[in-house]
């Protein structure tokens, strides 16, 4: 089975001299259009396995696509001299040009501006979270799409909203849906777009992201993993973190900058790691807890995710009740485990059959919800730390009898 990029990177981290993994990684980068990266990998393959033609052929393909025909010819000539040349395919000059153009995981990409399209995620596409969606519509979207009404009551559109909760529960999806509902341009910002080794450069990158959003009003600026960018200064060891948080606060403050019409959304799994100053009024003063999906939402998820899979009659509500606190990602895991079980049975000689409810229930029993760790940590906050800012979490923990 083909490994993903992350799996290959992990494999190479564990054993940098794993030639097969490196070859697979190089091919993957090449297919993704990251020719520079792929070339480096093929060159390493050449060094690690100089007796094989594969590395030279790969390097040749990359050189050719990058326009270095002479180097490509040298590589191919080198490959021809290897004993296994006949077994590997020659560099096909007919590879589609699109491969060079798409992807391109260069060292740094600018913050991704995702234009809204007909296929954009809407609130109706987000399964479950009924109460949460209502709250967001009233508190976040309505001021944005009907600024006149809210202005008459002295309320402004824009500002900051921090979504927090266990991983895999749809924070990013909700952020995209908010952007669609607000009919605003959506800019997703990750840690790699901001951080830079040089002093002051990260702050400049951050300011540039905000400036771009202000130019594109109405705009939604989305910071995923906010804790990584606005890490609590009391816990950090470097001045770099402190200056970046200071700049972030400066950009959020309405006094220094006009953020009217710019909705700043952020998501984090670890709200306790976010600098407390970020949560003060005028910054991310609205904090929304995104809990794991409820029974109805999980049943709906099972129904949607199993729609294209051969299944017998399944009681989705029973499945949902058997998977308390499971996130969307966990439900994927349950379905995959059930699929594997059925396929293994068929390969073992059993007659072909669809996935049945007991397969899914058995898979659910074997898996632990990934949200539990987060919920236990949050329980410490509510139970022992006396932190009043997690009332929604406290209510949820009581509801699911974890408190």
């Amino acid at each position: 089975m083909a490994r993903t990029r992350t799996e290959l990177e992990r494999a190479l981290a564990e054993d940098p001299f794993d030639g097969d993994a490196r070859r697979e990684y190089a091919r993957l980068l090449e297919e993704a259009g990251d020719l520079q990266g792929a070339l480096r990998q093929w060159e390493l393959v050449c060094r690690q396995r100089p007796e094989s033609a594969a590395g030279f052929l790969g390097a040749g393909r990359c050189h050719q696509a990058l326009g270095a025909s002479e180097r490509a010819a040298t590589c191919v000539a080198e490959a021809r001299s290897k004993s296994d040349f006949a077994k590997t395919s020659p560099p096909d000059g007919q590879r589609p040009a699109l491969q060079v153009l798409v992807g391109g995981a260069g060292p740094r990409q600018s913050a991704e501006v995702v234009p809204l399209s007909a296929a954009a995620v809407r609130f109706c596409d987000v399964v479950g979270h009924v109460e949460l969606k209502k709250t967001i519509e009233v508190k976040i979207i309505a001021p944005f799409v009907r600024p006149g009404l809210f202005a008459r009551f002295g309320k402004r559109a824009g500002g900051g909203v921090l979504m927090y909760g266990p991983p895999g529960c749809g924070k990013t999806l909700i952020a995209r849906a908010i952007a669609s509902e607000c009919e605003a341009s959506f800019t997703a910002v990750g840690i790699s777009e901001i951080l830079n080794l040089w002093l002051g450069e990260s702050e400049r990158n951050l300011a540039a992201v905000f400036d771009r959003a202000r130019q594109r009003r109405p705009a939604v600026l989305f910071f995923d993993e906010l804790d990584a960018l606005a890490f609590a200064r009391s816990k950090s060891h470097s001045d770099h973190t402190r200056t970046l948080v200071n700049e972030f606060l400066n950009q959020l403050d309405g006094v220094a900058h006009d953020n009217q019409g710019v909705l700043i959304l952020a998501a984090t799994n670890m709200p306790w790691d976010v600098d407390p100053a970020m949560k003060r009024p005028g910054r991310f003063d609205r904090q929304v807890f995104v809990p794991p999906p409820d029974d109805l939402a999980r049943a709906e998820m099972f129904r949607i995710k199993l729609a294209a899979v051969p299944t017998a009659a399944i009681d989705f509500m029973r499945l949902a009740r058997a998977t308390p606190q499971f996130s969307g990602a966990d439900i994927d895991g349950v379905i995959e485990a059930a699929k594997e079980h059925v396929i293994a049975e068929i390969l073992g000689g059993a007659p072909e059959r669809p996935i049945e409810e007991p397969d899914l229930l058995a898979a659910a029993r074997e898996l632990q919800p990934s949200t539990l760790d987060w919920l236990r940590t949050a329980r410490n906050l509510v139970k022992y730390a006396g932190d009043g800012s997690y009332r929604e979490v406290e209510a949820y923990l009581k509801q699911v009898k974890l408190l």
Partner: protein, 292 residues
């Protein structure tokens, strides 16, 4: 700036914010660029150590040292991992070598003092901390160790003075709050220490040791512990004196008063003894279960 330097910076940053998994993923990318780069190996080792995989961290530190024998971050990583594993003899060999190469480095002095404190070599630890603070009066670890050494010695005044200096310099820093909790707890100010510990727990709710500390401090400051407060304050010497006074006092009392009066005096004392055995564990369980 090379792509590798940029990746190193991002990995360091991810490690600082406690995202070991992402740091490992990024380190995989860095390793793909240069599989033998000691800085990358060392950062990958630090990520493994952060995730609790000590064997892998040690293996990577050794791999970095095989590639560059004098690589200081790899040696420091190895020292930290050995300290976590409580392999103090091996850790001492590493830190001594580091000190031999950099005799005036306060980081290494404080690191060695930390080791000596763990093995109760208090005088040597004190001398090293003093030397580290002479080189860098604001060294965070050296200041924490200095305060702890004063607490261990029972010198509350000096511990408070050190704590005061730390608070004046950086009142919000987590290490300062940690030190304050220890010093206040030692001075019997459990309620104040509890408030600080709860404040710290709000920032680190996933720290099980901190949860235990908070529960212990709540227990010590609970009203139900009032009858036992003299024992908590006085410690073992007070308990021994009380025991001796009670035993011999009750025997002597029987010679002069009636049995009823002796039971009236001895009964509460007996109840106190039973309560001192059963009360705190029960209350601790209750607080852990119920929260506060």
């Amino acid at each position: 700036m090379s792509e590798l330097d940029d990746l190193h910076h991002q990995i360091e940053r991810l490690l600082e914010v406690g995202r070991a998994d992402e740091a490992r993923r990024l380190a995989g990318r860095a390793l793909a660029l240069d599989p033998a780069d000691p800085d990358t190996l060392c950062l990958l080792g630090a990520a493994a150590a952060e995730a609790g995989d000590h064997d892998e961290a040690k293996r990577l530190a050794h791999a970095a040292l095989a590639s560059s024998p004098d690589h200081e971050p790899a040696r420091v990583l190895l020292f930290d991992v050995l300290m976590e594993e409580k392999a103090y003899a091996e850790a001492e060999a590493v830190i001594l070598e580091l000190l031999r190469d950099n005799p005036a480095d306060p980081d290494h002095m404080a690191g060695y003092a930390r080791l000596l404190l763990r093995v109760y070599q208090l005088e040597k630890a004190r001398a090293l901390v003093a030397e580290a603070l002479r080189h860098d009066p604001d060294h965070a670890l050296a200041q924490v160790l200095d305060a702890l050494l004063h607490v261990i010695r029972g010198d509350d005044r000096l511990a408070s003075a050190r704590l005061g200096r730390m608070i004046a310099a950086d009142p919000d820093a987590a290490h300062v709050v940690h030190t304050a909790i220890v010093v206040l707890g030692e001075r019997g100010k459990h309620r104040e220490a509890l408030e600080l510990a709860r404040e710290l727990l709000r920032a680190r709710p996933n720290d099980p040791e901190l949860v235990d500390t908070v529960i212990e401090l709540r227990l010590a400051s609970h009203w139900a512990m009032l009858p036992l407060r003299p024992f908590i304050r006085g410690g073992w010497p007070f308990a021994a004196v009380m025991w001796a006074v009670a035993v011999f006092g009750l025997i002597a009392l029987r010679l002069f008063v009636s049995d009823t009066a002796a039971v009236a005096v001895g009964g509460p004392y007996f109840a106190l003894v039973v309560y001192s055995w059963t009360g705190p564990p029960l209350l601790r369980r209750w607080l852990r279960w119920r929260g506060f």
